[in-house]
Amino acid sequence: MNHTDEEAYAALRGCDMAPNKTAQKLLLQGAQNAWDMLSEEQSQKHITTGSGSLNDILGGGIHCKEVTEIGGVPGVGKTQLGIQLAINVQIPVDYGGLGGKAVYIDTEGSFMVERVYQIAEGCISDIMEYFPCHHDKASSGQENLQPESFLAGIYYFRICSYTEQIAVINYLEKFLGEHKDVRIVIIDSVTFHFRQDFEDLALRTRVLSGLSLKLMKLSKAYNLAVVLLNQVTTKFTEGSFQLTLALGDSWSHSCTNRLILYWKGNERCAYLDKSPSLPVASTPYAVTSKGVRDAGSSSCKRVRVM
């Protein structure tokens, strides 16, 4: 091949002050090498679920820049976990949180604002317990720790059809550009309208795979966590009916991580079904009046709401 060309490139590379960067830039714009990504990843904070053991199997909590799907039977605690994450993402940086905001997209109408208030109170009382010294001195910081301010940090969209669901996901691009402090987007649930109203199943698959790519893009571009709650359905495999998450085989590939909530005897358990970096694992957890907590924790007892 042409020698002079090669020499020219070599010279070009040689004379540059930062050959590393230039070479990469020339090769592919916007790409990042794994080393830089590793250090970036290690400095990332995760969104706590409220349960230590659940955080452990998730590698510290829900990760930003990833799409996490959470599925389970009705009543197992999907919405509870969703609300908990919308609150926990707002834990101030001083208290080890992300100090971000949340977008909650409610397709089922199961978002009960009184319960959100309760969980916010639970979260604040736990913070006070863990950081008693902060509590004493920082009266200015304490002002922020009101359930009302946590509620003000949740942007709520109520969706009544799949068209609206598509619209809101498209619109998020603009919305997130205007609200840069949003660190989590929760869709509760991604399934409902698509399962009710969509007639053409092949088209549904195409639309859904397009949506999942858009969500992936948003999570990466705005450095936020996307949490998709999904319903379960029964499927005939290996000679028997088994529970599986809804929306079909194609959809099952469209998340980074998948967590399945299920009953094991008398305990609520979470099973990490899919993750590129973490082992398959399961752990018990509990839903208390304060929200999602470790199984067997003292606050597990039912507290009466007066």
Partner: protein
């Protein structure tokens, strides 16, 4: 970007003729194998991922497709074989997992401290997120320009191109009444094969599975089926965590053979 306006360059239009002897020579001298680092798969493939070829990994959700990609990236980069370009569509490229795989590798023959090696190896794996088919065309086009211009990454030539997963980019565009999606899929295949052959790199793509008549089958249908040189199906037993790879299609070896392999415990 409009596909129709793209004009092939002069040298692309007249691909030089080559005869059988030249091809054989080329195969022996340039078309080496790149190890995936997973013994079972390397044995099955007769040494690993072949340069100049397009290999497809298919399998159910969470069967280990991404893990095979991460392993291959780590091993190829660790053995000084060249740089790796990883195109990620599902935010599942995990640098910490790669670091963990590298950590388990025996300290290399060249006396190199672990942390130095880690930095060197990780720096030669480049990752880019791609979220739609148009972005993929753009990236592949940019890559081709760079390769034609002999721009290397850190002095390393790209030898492995991974797309995890190509099916999630193609799923929204194929099917339905219009044929445009299908022709885009075919041009992705053409570009990948051309890049692989011309620049002597190995292309590795992943594909998901959909419900078939009896058993699940790879997605993307019949016209894509003809594209990869090698199609490998992976599955994982959830209880023992042992994976099985089966060749569904192989240009040289008999298909239908299977091997077990095990992934490192993560975390």
């Amino acid at each position: 970007m409009d596909m129709n306006e793209e004009q092939p360059r002069v040298e692309d239009r007249c691909i030089p003729w080559s005869d059988g002897t030249q091809l054989l020579e080329d195969a022996a001298e340039r078309k080496h194998f790149l190890p995936t680092g997973l013994e079972g798969i390397d044995t099955l493939l007769g040494g690993g991922l072949r340069k100049g070829q397009l290999t497809e990994i298919t399998g159910q959700s969470s069967s280990g497709k991404t893990q095979v990609c991460l392993y291959s990236a780590a091993h190829v980069a660790a053995r000084h074989m060249g740089a790796v370009l990883y195109l990620d569509t599902s935010n599942s490229f995990s640098p910490s997992r790669i670091a963990c795989i590298l950590d388990e590798l025996p300290v290399s023959l060249i006396k190199e401290p672990k942390d130095v090696r880690l930095k060197r190896v990780m720096s030669s794996i480049i990752c880019e997120s791609v979220f739609d088919i148009f972005a993929l065309f753009e990236v592949l086009d940019q890559l081709e320009v760079s390769l034609n211009g002999k721009v290397h990454h850190d002095g390393n030539k790209i030898c492995l191109l991974i797309i995890d997963s190509v099916s999630s980019l193609l799923a929204p565009i194929i099917g339905g009444e219009n044929s445009q999606g299908r022709s885009m899929m075919i041009s992705v295949a053409m570009i990948l094969k051309k890049l692989a052959h011309k620049h002597n790199l190995s292309a590795l793509v992943t594909n998901h599975m959909v419900a078939g008549n009896e058993a699940p089958k790879p997605a993307l249908g019949e016209s894509w089926k003809a594209v990869p040189h090698i199609r490998l199906m992976v599955s994982r037993d959830r209880r023992s965590n042992i994976c099985t790879a089966t060749t569904l299609k192989h240009t040289l070896l008999a298909s239908g053979r299977r091997m077990k392999f095990q992934l490192l415990p993560a975390g």
